[in-house]
Each structure stands twice: as structure tokens, then as C-alpha cells.
Symmetry: C2
Subunit: 338 residues, 2 copies
């Protein structure tokens, strides 16, 4: 990080480290404190000491429960009584539904009509009401606006929201509490909420840490945007990492510009290889998006030789009927050892 | 447990609870203290409070590291200098290889020539020497005997050994330390080492606990043996739970007779369904043998309504290229929630 970034890292833009600490206190009864796991064989492969923060073991199956519960439990009683609404086909949908259930309020989730049945069922099982829309951004936003008008509920955006970012930052807060001497921290980038919260927590707790955002090369909007110094779309969003297809918002873009040292791009083959290694060696079910932040460390792409590297495994929700493993995939020579 | 069993539970046959405690102290530097995890959605399915002891997260990928390291670190320096030998194509092979590596001694592992390449590589990666034999029990035993003669090494049997049983009992010791008010504890049965150690720990720490051994209906030698009051072979060993095909030894048979309350038989379909539920809800990679002890609780077959049930997930080693999940499998209605 350069001198300018270091100065601005401590500037009082929101959320602050104190906001993240307050979020942690607020959501503690509603989340799991997830374990940090290690593997001798993966350390040998990476040539570094890897510390995996297991948000795949978080309630609702991803880190999204942190932000969603912080947002929901930040509402006043009057606001909360109106219920909450969001548009999402993925992990934020399930997390917001669960957080609303925990607070005992209503939730409406706008989902595209082509969302997987399994995700729709998850949202419904948490007691939320699914409102279907066409699978386009325009239809999503129009439908959400219509639901807002009709219900008077409060919109909880998946990432363009201070309370969400503060909540997501609690994963890194816990990780650094447990492993204070990290040299690197890696998190995936979609809309940038997790990486924003991670960077704020990490740079304030440990200014010398390198914060690396990781995204599929096939959905590289953050790399393009940071290079161009303005928000740019990805060239494609054709990636197995279905959770990483969103685009930065102005709020997250500004935070990443200030605090992120590097964006690492990960190929589709690397995503699947990393995912397979995590399943084999850690015995953990990690979804493709969740494996993206592991790949640059596992495949020695970040110059972390001998260093302590924190990696946020963001989620574990995927369809076991369509796994990407193939009998023709190259076999790994090392045994299971952790 | 009847009165006779209660009396004999405290009789001084070996290993004793104190042996298990001593084993725990001995092996603590060489094993992981594995987590105990819970899932609200699995509790709802089971109608009980389930506590999963995650031996799939144990070093070498299964509970076998507990017994193997207890045996290896129980050897005198003179014995240890001779090295160790065993015959196994599975988790005991990898665990003994790793335990020997930790002590810095040689290990010879007799494996059938048709053992999966991945398992052979695991053993070799831990530095052990693989000695191939024909895939018959006679060839295994003859080859092991030949290696013993040739090398003077010490035989470490996979389960017919007090030190092994004491080591395996440390998983239940940790589980009951963490969750003292268990009403049931479930463990899979193969040669009976894990269940023997589990039963000794559990019945001595908590005499009212019900100890349930679980085995595939397609490899039902323990159920047959306990019913016949003598060791009987299984009718078949055609099961996906490849780790549960061994037969009780006199030593384990006697312990199970005294201390096990019930043997639950699990169908092949139930093994796969239980495994799938564990992967989906716990986000844990559990091998088929490891899922066998979960099935009777998940599918409400043990009369545990509202009770506290400990389940030992014994291992997580399997080939990701040949998973049993099929798109035609019945989908589970509940979401991921823990």
C-alpha cells in the first residue's frame, strides 16, 4: 500500500473498524464463530502457511449471514415491523430470509424465474416470500421497486450498504483475532461487500498486511474497474463461480481503490482444481466461488513464500448433482494430511 | 444396559477408561482435537439433538490416527527402532504410515495389489514402504508374516490390539467432555476397534448412555455375531461403505458383547442419503463408512426423540471421481441451516 492509501486507511469513511466491532457484537447471537483450519499438505503445496476461515460452515452456508443479520438487527423496531426486501438468487437471499426469521419479521425475496429450485426452496424454508421476476437486471429492479411500494418494506441491498459491509468485515475480524500475524489476506470479489469489510478490518488491525481480492478471469469487472479508475463491466460473466458475477457499486469501488493491494485473476481450471484440493485435503464442501480466494495462494501466484496467508472460504452452497469433478482430471500426488 | 452389563462395564478388563485417558495424553501432540458440529435442520429432520464428532477432519482423514499414534508412541525405543508393519488397504494404512513418520521410524504396509492408487500414494507420501500382496486374506497374512520375519518389525494390527482400542476411544472421550449430557452415542462397526473404545469411554463416563453400533445391512457380521453369541461372518460384504468390511476379533467381540446396547443395520440407500445430507447440511466431506453411524439417528430408527445423540463421523477419505450422487436422487426439501 502506498503512503496515500495508508493515510486514507484510517480516515473516518464508513464503515469504520469500530462499526465492524459493533456489528460483531450485534450479530454474535445469530452467527457461528466459524473455525480456522490448516493443512500440512496444502501448506507444502503452497510453500506458505495457509489459514482458512470457514465461512462455508457459517449459518445459511455462507458469510452472507453476517451482513444480513447486521442489517436486520440494525433496524429500529418501527422499520423492522415493515419487513425487508431484496433481490438475489443466491446466498444473500437465503441469509436475509434467515436473519428476518431470527428477528421475527417478514421478508420478500425477488428471484429470477430461472433460479435453481434448491435455492428457492431454501429461501421458502426460512419463511420468506419469493417474488419471481424475469431473469434480467431491469426486471429485478422493477420488481423489487414494485414490492417496496406495495409492502412498505425496507430494501436490504446485497452489498451496496454500510451495514452489510460492516457485517461481512466480521469474518476478517475473527480471523485476525485468532491468527494475529497474517502477512496476507485473500477474499473473493463479487459486488465487493466481503472484500470491502475484509480490507477495512485487516488494514486497520494490521496496516502492513497485503489485501488481495480474487475474482474469476471470466468475470473480471473489479480488475478492470480498478485499472481504469472507474467502474467497468466484466468482459463476460461465464464462470462456474456463480456467486461472483455481480459488479462493484460506487461505495465498494471507493473502498477497494483505497485499501486493496492487488486483484488476482483465477482461471476456470484453477477454480475447479482449488475446489477439489479443498474438498480432498480439508474435507470441506466449498462452492466454486468459495474456492476462488484459495487458488492464488495454492498455486503460488502472490509471492507469499514462507508467509502467513489468511483465506476466506466464502461459502459451501452448491448442487451435489452437478459437481465439476471428472475422472479425467489430473490426480493429486499428495495424501490427505492436515 | 442390563444389570450384568453395568457390573461388567466397570470390571478391569483392558483397555480401561484410564488406559484411554493415558492414550489421550500420549497422542495429544500428534492428533487434532476435532470439532463437534451441530445443524438445526438435521436436528429437525431427526427430531433429536445431534452432535457430530468430526473425525473426517482428523489427521490422515480418519479416527485411525488416534489408535495408530497410540500404538506407535507406546513402543519402547528398542521396539520402535525395529519399525512397524501392518496389512490394510484403507485408513489404518495411512494412519500408521503417518504415525511412524511422526516418530521417525520405518513402516511397511502390506496392501492388496488391487488397492486404489490414491490410497497407495497416500501411504507412500507419508514415507512408508508398500509391500504388495494378492487380494486375499491368506496372501495378506502370509505377506505380513514374511515382512515380519525379514524386517523384525513390530506388527500393529488394525483393531485386535489394546493400544489401538484405547486410542480409538479418545474420540468419544473428547466428545463426552464437550457434550456431557449425551443420551446416545453411535459409532460404525468394522473390526470393532472404534466401537470398543467408544463403548468403554462412554459407559464408564456415563453409565446410562445407550451405545449403538452401526453397520451396513450388507456387511452385518457384528449383528450376526452378537445375536449368535459367537463370531460369525457377514452374509455378504457388498457395500459402498468400503471401510466396514472387516470381521470382529475375539477381543473386540467380547467388549461389544458386554457394552453395546444395540446394533443398527443400515441399507445402501440410507448410507448414500445420510452421506448426502451430511455434505449438504454440514458442508463436510464424509466417506460412506463415516455416514453409516449418522443414518439411524437421521432416519429416526433408534427411539431418540428429543434426546441428545453423539455421532462419530469416522472419516472423509474417498475418491471424488466416483461419488454416488445422482441427479435422480430424491431432493431434500430443507435448506442449509446450522
Amino acid at each position: 500500500m502506498n503512503a496515500e492509501a495508508q493515510r486514507s486507511a484510517t480516515a473516518p469513511s464508513r464503515p469504520t473498524l469500530d462499526d465492524i466491532r459493533a456489528a460483531h457484537k450485534r450479530i454474535a447471537p445469530h452467527i457461528h464463530r466459524t473455525p480456522v483450519v490448516t493443512s500440512a499438505s496444502l501448506d507444502a503445496l503452497a510453500g506458505a502457511h495457509l489459514y482458512f476461515k470457514c465461512e462455508n460452515l457459517q449459518r445459511s452456508g455462507s458469510f452472507k449471514m453476517r451482513g444480513a443479520s447486521n442489517a436486520v438487527f440494525s433496524l429500529s423496531d418501527t422499520e423492522a415491523a415493515r419487513g425487508v426486501v431484496t433481490h438475489s438468487s443466491g446466498n444473500h437471499a437465503a441469509a436475509l430470509a434467515l436473519a428476518a426469521k431470527e428477528r421475527g419479521i417478514r421478508a420478500w425475496i425477488v428471484m429470477p424465474s430461472d433460479a435453481p429450485q434448491v435455492k428457492r426452496r431454501a429461501v421458502e424454508a426460512f419463511g420468506a416470500e419469493v417474488v419471481l421476476c424475469e431473469p434480467t437486471l431491469a426486471s429485478r429492479e422493477a420488481t423489487a421497486a414494485e414490492v417496496l411500494r406495495r409492502t412498505g418494506a425496507v430494501l436490504i441491498h446485497p452489498y451496496d450498504d454500510e451495514r452489510i459491509i460492516a457485517g461481512q468485515g466480521t469474518a476478517a475480524l475473527e480471523l485476525i483475532e485468532e491468527i494475529p500475524d497474517l502477512d496476507f489476506v485473500l477474499a473473493p470479489i463479487s459486488g465487493g461487500g466481503l472484500l470491502s469489510g475484509t480490507a477495512i478490518a485487516a488494514k486497520n488491525l494490521r496496516p502492513a498486511i497485503r489485501v488481495i481480492g480474487c475474482e474469476p478471469a471470466n468475470a473480471d469487472d473489479a480488475a478492470r474497474s480498478l485499472a481504469a479508475a472507474k467502474i467497468e463491466p466484466a468482459a463476460t460473466t461465464k464462470t462456474i463461480a456463480d456467486g461472483l458475477r455481480a459488479t462493484l457499486a460506487p461505495r465498494t469501488f471507493e473502498i477497494l481503490r483505497r485499501l486493496v493491494d492487488q486483484v488476482a485473476l483465477v482461471s476456470e481450471e484453477e477454480i475447479v482444481s482449488a475446489m477439489r484440493l479443498l474438498w480432498e485435503r480439508l474435507k470441506l464442501v466449498v462452492e466454486p466461488s468459495g474456492a476462488v480466494a484459495a487458488a492464488p495462494a495454492l498455486f503460488r501466484q502472490i509471492g507469499a513464500d514462507g508467509k502467513n496467508v489468511g483465506i476466506i472460504l466464502s461459502g459451501g452452497n452448491l448442487d451435489l448433482d452437478s459437481l465439476p469433478f471428472r475422472p479425467t482430471a489430473p490426480r493429486q500426488p499428495l495424501p490427505t494430511e492436515r
